[in-house]
């Protein structure tokens, strides 16, 4: 630790030193020249001005950037009395004068004493190239990176030299990579030799990605006949590697969708899979979970804004309690009278779902509610060419944690044991002293709370409205039925399979048709294996 500190200190020292030296060097030979050149802009013709801008760019001094930017924006003024050029800032009725190179204030002047330095489009282009070149030399790493990327996006032969200069001086590997691509791209539209261009195509090919294809396509339009085959070959090669990237992208989206399906379906796997209850109000439990998040966030926003990043952590237990309690009431109030009559249960819970939807609509209104993302849920990061958003990432993590926690609860806890005992043989369980009615009630409440947890997560990526649950109920039933009833692993595999299949079909069939296809596939699949992917076989099941 200590050594690292010392090392870091040394590094900072050396960086500062080299920076100071380089600044001194340019200052020493050019400070006055620069001033003269900037002043010359005030009276120059457009052609002369372009020459001046190019020279300013070549000076490599980042101090001229503000002046060039002001020129491009039309904020550069020349004092009529002495031909001095200044940046200006409004100061009451007058204008405050600012030295274009040092940024120091140079007094005030009435507007009439100044005249604007004129600019046209060709001049602007030259300015952009010059600034690009200059910022490429900036001591600030992020400025350099941005400059390199902007050149890559809008390449022109003009910036080629600046890029090459910068490339020679650049130490940072990432910026160097971008610069190399930028050089290659700029080179294609320059008048360099064929061999150089071929090498450039090679570099672009190595870079890959969809925009490389479009770069090469544009280049192909204006390029030499002799280059065509190279360009075409490069495009094909990039496209081939893109297929893999696309596949990876689809898998990622599929995993993301699968995790959402998993969250929505786990609770159902408990109530339907373990208890054999068709809970059509399951989607509404998800909705209640989402609304709990909304309410918690609202309270936090108005009363404890500093806790906002914790809002989901607070909403989670609230949602669990709310949905668990509602589930308990539903089981005790309705479902327990309907055991052994699955179709009636289906109808009654559908009725409950209507009531819950309408209740939420009456209380919160029919419109979508705003639920915010805490800072750690927003944003994205790059992973091997994939853009991965944090909220999707966390939802995958969350759904898997819920899944394994539940698995653990069922397999390892006393409650899980009682639950499995009741499912397998109710009478025997009850004669062993297990309170079967309470096991039923808590199992149902457990399934409902899991739906509530799903609601907290889904509030981050979906619209929170009274119809939220409706959109998940059919999909989650499909997952459970596809995966095999009474088998949590089946639900896991089912959810991710359906998610990935869905996303792979989408590019070919479109989102809606893809969904229809998946539904049809599941319907056909159920015909083939009526009890799902991971069905139990044997006599006991059919008894």
């Amino acid at each position: 630790m200590f050594y690292r500190l010392i090392f870091a200190a040394f590094r900072i020292f050396f960086v500062c030193l080299s920076l100071a030296l380089s600044l001194l060097a340019t200052k020493a030979f050019a400070a006055d020249d620069l001033k003269a050149m900037v002043n010359a802009l005030g009276t120059a013709s457009f052609a002369q001005a372009e020459e001046l801008v190019n020279n300013l760019g070549k000076s490599g001094d980042p101090n001229v950037v503000p002046a060039l930017e002001a020129l491009s924006e039309g904020d550069l003024f020349v004092r009529k009395s002495d031909g001095q050029v200044f940046l200006t800032k409004r100061a009451g009725s007058k204008l405050e004068l600012i030295d274009p190179l040092t940024g120091a204030s140079a007094g005030e002047e009435a507007k009439s004493a100044l005249s604007k330095v004129k600019v046209n489009n060709s001049l602007r282009r030259a300015i952009r190239a010059a600034i690009g070149g200059l910022t490429l030399m900036s001591p600030d790493r992020t400025v350099r990176l941005q400059a390199a990327q902007s050149i890559l996006k809008a390449p022109s032969a003009d910036s080629l030299e600046a890029v090459e200069t910068a490339l020679a001086a650049e130490q940072d590997a990432e910026i160097k990579g971008v610069l190399e691509s930028a050089r290659a791209v700029a080179l294609l539209s320059s008048d360099r030799s064929l061999d150089d261009k071929k090498a450039a195509i090679e570099v672009i090919k190595e870079r890959g990605g969809r925009d490389s294809i479009s770069i090469l396509m544009t280049a192909a339009n204006s390029a030499d006949e002799a280059l065509r085959p190279d360009i075409d070959a490069a495009i094909t090669s990039i496209e081939n590697s893109l297929v893999f990237a696309d596949a990876a992208q689809n898998v990622w989206y599929g995993l993301s969708l699968g995790s959402v399906l998993l969250l929505a379906a786990i609770g159902l796997a408990i109530t339907f899979g373990v208890m054999g209850i068709i809970n059509m109000a399951h989607g509404e439990m998800v909705m209640l979970g989402a609304y709990s998040t909304f309410v918690v966030q609202n309270i936090i926003r108005t009363s404890y804004p500093e806790l906002f990043d914790w809002s989901l952590a607070i909403a989670l237990p609230v949602a669990i309690l709310v949905t668990g309690a509602v589930g308990l009431v539903i089981e005790r109030g309705v479902i327990r009278f309907l055991y052994g009559r699955p179709l009636e249960t289906l109808l009654a819970t559908w009725g409950i779902s209507l009531i819950l939807q309408q209740a939420v609509r009456t209380i919160f209104g029919p419109t979508n509610q705003e639920v915010g993302n805490p800072s750690w849920m927003s944003g994205a990061f790059e992973l091997g060419g994939l853009t991965i958003t944090w909220n999707r990432m966390w939802i995958i993590v969350f759904s898997l944690s819920v899944f394994f926690a539940l698995l653990f609860l069922l397999k390892r806890s006393a409650f899980g044991l009682q639950m499995r005992a009741v499912t397998q043989n109710r009478r025997m369980a009850s004669s062993m002293g297990i309170r079967t009615p309470w096991v039923d009630a808590f199992t149902f409440a457990l399934g409902s709370s899991i739906a509530g947890m799903a609601g907290v997560a889904l509030s981050q990526i979906d619209n929170v409205s009274p119809n939220l649950g409706q959109s998940y109920i059919i999909d989650s039933f499909m997952v459970v039925v596809f995966g095999g009833v009474g088998n949590l692993w089946g639900t896991l595999v089912g959810a991710f399979t359906l998610g990935i299949v869905n996303k792979f079909l989408e590019p070919y069939a479109g989102a809606v048709l893809g969904k229809i296809l998946v539904l049809v596939l599941i319907i056909l699949f159920i015909q083939k294996r009526p009890r799902g992917l991971f069905a139990l076989k044997g006599r006991a099941v059919e008894a």
């Binding site: 068709i278 249960t345 289906l346 009725g351 539904l519 319907i523």
Partner: protein
């Protein structure tokens, strides 16, 4: 053979119901058209249209009762057959518009012109003929039911699984019909109809005729359904509902029996849809919504399943309630409907008609008092092994 079939279908309740329906078919249009508006017996046109709609719902509920009440197949996708029948009729009505549409294209319906289509898709051919559309009204739902049922029943998809995949079926169709490139008008569906068989669809006379047609169709379907359930076939159906494997081991082809019933029921639903569309003047993908199909189940349950008459009563009662409720307290209708679902399953599992006739039967039994055996309270049929 057929006469024996039909004669058997007529028991006292069915005769009464059919007589009532036929009387409605005559008197309601007559009163609407012939009596002066200020007569206390005059039925206003809006009521004719409203009750005409209820009758088509009743037919849909009857169709569902045939599969659910008697065969134990709880279809949550009967709305799909209804909607398909409706679309077949809607396509006929669209083509009747002819050059009177907004864009004035003699062949293409407005929405196709709007989508820049150049010619009629093949599946719209023939729908300018009423007989063809009428045929499609039963053929298309029947075919879908056949294909779906053939797969499902052959692989013995049962109970709630079947319910869920029928729901998935109607959901898939919902998504499909929302798409513009399906060629059925997408989101907006088919509407702006002008006339049917040359009569103005808005005219009082046409509405009265449609009402009469709905009542007569319902009576006919009731006759057929009663014939089916009172035949030996109907007894087999109930056997399948109560003890499917016993029926198999008696040598019946359960899948054929179910398939036949499912297809007949789907055709009835298709006819209901076809009668519904000209009376409400629109058909759109919303009819495929899973919620609609479940609502049909509750009409049937309220009236009493496996009673044939019950679903008709249930459909009219629930929809009448819906009309009144949504007029008076629109925001409470869903509460009421939800509560109805819960209450009927908990307190009235046999429905209105089932409970009443059960009461009458037990009174008769009591009076007879012939057998000293105590009647088991729980007569719920037990599932087979």
């Amino acid at each position: 053979m057929i006469t024996a079939f039909l004669l058997r279908s007529l028991d006292r309740k069915i005769i009464v119901a059919i007589a009532v329906l036929l009387a409605l078919a005559v008197f309601v249009p007559a009163s609407n058209l012939l009596l002066p508006e200020d007569s206390p017996l005059h039925v206003p046109t809006y009521l004719v249209a409203l009750f005409g709609k209820y009758l088509t719902y009743a037919l849909l509920a009857l169709a569902l009762d045939l599969v659910w009440g008697y065969c134990g197949i709880l279809s949550l996708g009967h709305g799909a057959f209804f909607a398909l029948g409706g679309y077949a009729m809607g396509m006929y009505l669209m083509r009747q518009i002819g050059p009177r549409g907004v864009y004035g294209d003699a062949i293409l319906p407005d929405f196709m012109v709007f989508l820049n289509w150049k010619e009629l898709p093949w599946f719209w051919y023939g729908f300018d003929q009423f007989w063809f559309a009428a045929l499609m009204v039963v053929v298309v739902p029947g075919l879908l039911a056949f294909v779906f049922g053939w797969f499902a029943f052959r692989s013995r998809v049962n109970g709630v699984y079947l319910s869920i995949i029928t729901q998935a079926m109607t959901y898939a169709l919902l998504l499909a019909f929302f798409r513009n490139d399906m060629g059925f008008g997408g989101n907006n569906g088919l509407t702006d109809f002008k006339d049917i068989l040359g009569f103005n669809i808005q005219a009082g006379g046409t509405r009265a005729a449609l009402f009469a047609a709905s009542a007569i169709m319902l009576a006919l379907s009731l006759l057929v359904a009663s014939g089916i359930v009172r035949s030996k076939f109907g007894k087999v159906l109930v056997g399948i509902r109560d003890a499917e494997s016993r029926v198999r081991f008696l040598g019946f082809r359960v899948e054929h029996m179910k398939l036949f019933t499912f297809v007949v029921s789907a055709m009835m639903a298709g006819i209901a849809g076809a009668l519904y569309v000209p009376q409400v003047g629109i058909i759109n993908p919303g009819e495929f919504a899973p919620a609609n199909s479940i609502e049909v189940v509750i009409w049937t349950a309220v009236g009493g399943r496996a009673t044939l008459i019950g679903p008709i009563i249930g459909a009219v009662l629930v929809n009448g309630g819906k009309t009144i409720f949504t007029g008076l307290f629109p925001e409470f209708w869903l509460f009421a409907l939800g509560a109805l679902f819960v209450a009927v399953t908990l307190f009235l599992p046999k429905g209105i008609v089932g409970t009443i006739s059960g009461y009458i039967a037990s009174r008769r039994e009591y009076r007879k008092a012939a057998s000293a055996k105590p009647v088991p309270i729980d007569a719920e049929p037990q599932a087979a092994e």
